[in-house]
Amino acid sequence: EDQVTQSPEALRLQEGESSSLNCSYTVSGLRGLFWYRQDPGKGPEFLFTLYSAGEEKEKERLKATLTKKESFLHITAPKPEDSATYLCAVKGSQGNLIFGKGTKLSVKP
C-alpha cells in the first residue's frame, strides 16, 4: 500500500534559522513526489514535483531533494511569511495524490 509519512509534525524556528522537513514514502513505482504549502483556510498550493532520485528543485528559500526512500524540504534563512503547513504527496496508481499529514512550520521574528 502506498504510504507517506512526514516529520516532524510541528516545527518552530526563529527567523533566519535554517532547517529541513522530512517526507518518507513507500510506493510501488514512483510516479512523482509533490510538495505543497497550505495556509489556514486555504487549499494546498503547489510548490514542486520531483520524479527521480538525485533530483533537486528550488524556489526562493525552499529546496526540495529526493532519494529512493525520502524527500527533504530544506528551508534556508526562513522568514515569518514561510509559516504554513507543508504537505508531501506521492502519485498513486489512479493518478490521485496520496498525502502525508503535513508539517506545521512556525517562524518567529
Binding site: 510516479r31 512523482g32 509533490f34 505543497y36 483556510g41 486555504k42 487549499g43 494546498p44 498550493e45 503547489f46 514535483t49 520524479y51 504537505l87 504527496a89 502519485k91 498513486g92 489512479q94 493518478g95 490521485n96 495524490l97 496520496i98 498525502f99 502525508g100 499529514k101 503535513g102
Partner: protein
C-alpha cells in the same frame, strides 16, 4: 487565470439533511479530484473524474456520498442524510490530465459543519 472555484465556502447543516457541494475546475483541465480534510488529519482521497467518468468510487466513505461531473467541467459532491462525522473541509482539485507531469491545483474548499 481563474483557479479552482468551490461553493459554498461554508455550509452548516442539521444532521440528516442532504448537502450539495460544487466545484468549478480550471478551464481545460480534464481531471478532477475530491478530497476531504478533517481537523488534525491528512487529506483523504474520495474520488476522481477523467472527463465525466469516475472509474473508481471505492474511496467514497459510504453510500451516502455520491459525485457527478457534467460537460467535463463542473462537479458536484452530494452527501445524503448527513452525520456529524461528515464535518470536514471538502477540497476539490483539477489537473490537465492524469499524466505524471500534471500537478493538482486545489480550490479553497467547502467547510461543512453538521450540527
Amino acid at each position: 487565470g481563474a483557479g479552482v472555484s468551490q461553493s459554498p465556502s461554508n455550509k452548516v447543516t442539521e444532521k440528516g439533511k442532504d448537502v450539495e457541494l460544487r466545484c468549478d475546475p480550471i478551464s481545460g483541465h480534464t481531471a478532477l479530484y475530491w478530497y476531504r480534510q478533517s481537523l488534525g488529519q491528512g487529506l483523504e482521497f474520495l474520488i476522481y473524474f477523467q472527463g465525466n467518468s469516475a472509474p473508481d468510487k471505492s474511496g467514497l466513505p459510504s453510500d451516502r456520498f455520491s459525485a457527478e461531473r457534467t460537460g467535463g467541467s463542473v462537479s458536484t459532491l452530494t452527501i445524503q442524510r448527513t452525520q456529524q462525522e461528515d464535518s470536514a473541509v471538502y477540497l476539490c482539485a483539477s489537473s490537465l490530465a492524469l499524466g505524471q507531469n500534471s500537478p493538482l491545483h486545489f480550490g479553497n474548499g467547502t467547510r461543512l459543519t453538521v450540527t
